[in-house]
Amino acid sequence: MNQGTYSVLSNINIAKDVYKMILGGDTSQITAPGQFINIKLDGLYLRRPISICDNDENTITIIYKAVGKGTEMMSRFEAYKNLDVLVGLGNGFDISKSGDRPLLIGGGVGVPPMYSLCKALLDKGVKPVVILGFNSLEDVFYEKKFLNLGVDVYVATVDGSYGIKGFVTDVIPLVGEYSYFYTCGPMPMFKALYKTCVTSGQFSFEERMGCGFGACMGCTCKTKNGNKRICKDGPVLEKEEIIW
């Protein structure tokens, strides 16, 4: 974990209430796709945990939805604003278990961590299949970014206004055989995937956090492998250990 000052390089609206922010600063503490950062915001007491969408040596890309006081404040940030950020939190995805054709399934603001995961898998020579689920056309983002990585991408919208009408689970029968799955998104999607997916897989969870780095026990859940702090021992849990 690194605590440092990160500078907003850009902050743009990419879908309905969804923003993409690029932060400049030290990224040496990011060790796996699926980790998150925790941002201090002026006037709000607790930091805001946001998953990492992408990073290089000097920048971190995050994508967030403006749904509350904190994220609405963030959506108004302009370039050069400096932020106090904790970087490199959580365990992240374990890419060693992917097999040769894993599914990456992102729902809504669960899509961003799938992007760095996709890049990490491609780097080790594994070509995943990407399934993105949104409510409606106005919510869709990052389809093209995934396509540019050279992977097959399926998009589903609940109202059928774009791509395949239905949920991500309606897409799974269309993609053929798969070796493993990785997912991030809302809880109803998780429960449906748990039933639908025949292989083993990893889920990235969300929980209200106090600290974000394992000190307060505010986000603990029960697993078959004992109590786990979502912020430190998670956010990624393996399918077999999850207690629903």
Binding site: Y45, A215, C216, M217, T220
Partner: protein, 303 residues
């Protein structure tokens, strides 16, 4: 050169800054962030006789200048704390620590206290009779002078280490409880634990926290804590560890002027993992600014 050392029940602390129980785990997690040996001491995560999962999530609610928590004493139980957690802390921290214990009956408190008594690493035992997040225990021992007295006597009977009783602010008159603890043989008083609070989500129109209510802490409660430390200092003749909303070196000095011999920093650690380090580093300059040569000399200085 200013002198930041204070003496707490015969133990000399390099400075009065101690991370508060429940906000610092068993310390070793923070050793990756900075050298925790700079701390005056560490108050370890509250420990009970049996392992506890704690309360359902959400356990955290944000507030203006603070937060509500309802963790509910999640801990691995006294046996694992002794066999696993304290040895991990010993590898990265060489000073005496404060063991924080809690229970659901007077026998529980005595059991846990007796077990921890044999740990050479433990300099002080802090007895939490003020957890607002568990039913049939915790705070119910700290809201009645009679039971506070009984718990104090029971733990004092099974340990030779200094015992500090951690008090709840959720009482009509905290001095009565403090006096009962002193009468029971307590070596000191820790205060304040969190204030009972609640938040309601406007979108769901339901309480934010699964357990509905929780303990409110953070900078917003500092004035309440200063007031109660001031009152308890006047009521008893045993040392006080003051806590509640401390987040900077100035707050440490204010709490000591109210009557605290040492202080604990809680919520601030969750927002800024380096909070205690920053406070310790800032102390000498802030002391100089207010013409303070020795912290030991300002304890209760406002009375």
């Amino acid at each position: 050169m200013v002198n930041t050392t204070v003496t707490l029940s015969g133990i000399t602390l390099d400075n009065p800054v101690i991370p508060a129980s429940g906000t610092f785990g068993f310390g070793y997690e923070f050793a990756d962030i900075y050298d925790i040996n700079i701390l005056g001491s560490i108050s370890c995560k509250g420990t009970t006789k049996a392992p506890r999962f704690g309360n359902p999530t959400p356990r955290i609610a944000e507030c203006t200048q603070g937060l509500i928590n309802s963790v509910g004493l999640q801990n691995p139980g006294i046996d694992k704390v002794i066999s696993e957690e304290l040895p991990k802390l010993a590898k990265v921290y060489s000073k005496p620590v404060i063991a924080n214990i809690s229970g659901f009956s007077i026998d529980d408190y005595a059991y846990t206290c007796e077990k921890i008594d044999s740990e050479p690493q433990v300099g002080i035992i802090e007895v939490n009779i003020s957890c607002p997040n568990v039913h049939n225990g915790g705070m119910s021992f700290g809201t009645d002078a009679g039971t506070a007295l009984a718990v104090t006597k029971a733990v004092k009977a099974v340990t030779t280490k200094p015992v500090y009783i951690k008090l709840s602010p959720n009482v009509t008159d905290i001095t009565e409880i403090a006096k009962a603890c002193e009468q029971g043989g307590a070596d000191g008083i820790s205060l304040i634990n969190t204030l009972m609070g609640m938040r309601i989500d406007l979108k769901t129109k339901k309480p934010v926290i699964a357990n509905k209510m929780g303990g409110f802490s953070g900078p917003a409660i500092l004035p309440v804590a200063v007031r109660m430390v001031y009152q308890v200092y006047e009521a008893v003749n045993i040392p006080i560890i003051g806590m509640g909303g401390i987040s900077c070196a100035e707050d440490v000095i204010e709490m000591m002027l109210a009557g605290a011999t040492a202080v604990q920093v809680g919520a601030a650690n969750l927002v800024d993992p380096c909070a205690c380090k920053t406070i310790i580093e800032d102390l000498p300059a802030v002391m100089q600014k207010y013409n303070i040569n020795s912290l030991q000399n300002i304890i209760g200085g406002s009375h």
